[in-house]
Symmetry: C3
Subunit: 162 residues, 3 copies
């Protein structure tokens, strides 16, 4: 694991690029590339603001290895939940939180719009990514990505990656 | 007051980090930290596109010192307006406008989503920040942040900082 | 045509600044400045996700020269379609796609909110910009900007630049 260059311009830009690539993979429905954004082992958790505030570790979605992420993709492909609508992530400016023990902490707001086949659009989710990042061979990867949704209620479609 | 490094990569990144930190403080309800983003004296103004276009200096919210910003936070805490809903700022890419007399001018679009306790989300506000920034001991601070809302009508809740 | 500096921090920042300036020009209704963001000849195309996926080159809006862009602005000014509502672009983080033959490819998500005169706001469009960029005398310009809208249906107002 390489040390992460913390010069702020370089790190901000790398976080911007990483988040943009992540959002593109999901919105382009290239879900099979999604596990590659994480280190292995990892923590990927979708939770709500209320649960996060109370320190509950249970989430709506939980995965702690690349294998679990891949299983989730396979399950979604079987369920075909992607077929009827599209999603568009708009990701805010990343905030670098700091560095310790060779990892970087960052936090980034997001908004996801859902586009129905008939053209209707609605706000699907907003929230923030709480990230722990490592440099693996020159590529930033998520050791942790905790997705804290502002909305405390979801329909079943939230099974899609955010 | 230090000179601001105008090398574009560095300045863009600093503006991104500043705006991300600012939004996080508000959305995390750490309002007490909000006055610390400003120099003292300062100008903080929330106004509408119509008022701004006509050159009216009166705004929905006006503060010209750290003390006035702190008073506003105290008033909001007493009124408890934060309790029933959450907000999520999604801040666009900062545009550096230029430099003169040791200050930097920048402009940045924003969008705020309101999340009700029952889970409903709506577009609460959009607009742009017109900023004048100074470097104080290595930290960028707002000498001016004029919040020009696209929407010309507001309900009373707009008393919250944007 | 100068070589584009591909050092990621510098390029990310230049793309952020360019996109922010582009959005500001449109949202400030400075449409006459819009053609200046393109090289000449160029390709500006607004299309839908379905059309783009199927490789159709026909779009809702098509221009391949600065003259055609200027004609479009003139037509919009005559039609006065701008008068009744405002728009706010919120542009996501740019993703640099790569470099070849002296040009840079980038892709950036966008969201546009429409603000009616009576204060109502709605999601007007989401999508992504597929860009090919060149450096002309130190300024990044769009050789191509293909606007792929997620929404496959539009009302006539889409004639405005996105």
């Amino acid at each position: 694991m390489a040390a992460i260059d913390l010069a702020s311009a370089g790190l901000q830009s790398r976080l911007a690029q990483l988040n943009a690539d992540y959002a593109r993979a999901l919105d382009d429905d290239r879900m099979e590339e999604w596990p590659g954004f994480f280190s292995d082992p990892c923590l990927y958790l979708i939770t709500t603001a209320d649960n996060h505030r109370h320190g509950y570790t249970a989430g709506i979605v939980y995965a702690d290895s690349e294998g679990m992420l891949r299983d989730r993709v396979a399950a979604l492909r079987e369920a075909n939940v992607y077929e009827r609508q599209a999603y568009r992530h708009v990701i805010g400016l990343p905030a670098v939180r700091g560095e310790a023990d060779g990892v970087v902490r960052a936090e980034t707001a997001f908004l996801v719009v859902r586009i129905m086949r008939d053209g209707r659009m609605d706000l699907f989710a907003t929230g923030r990514y709480l990230d722990v990042l490592v440099d693996e061979g020159g590529a930033l990867r998520f050791r942790e990505r905790v997705v804290v949704c502002d909305n405390n209620r979801f329909d079943t479609l939230l099974a899609i990656p955010l």
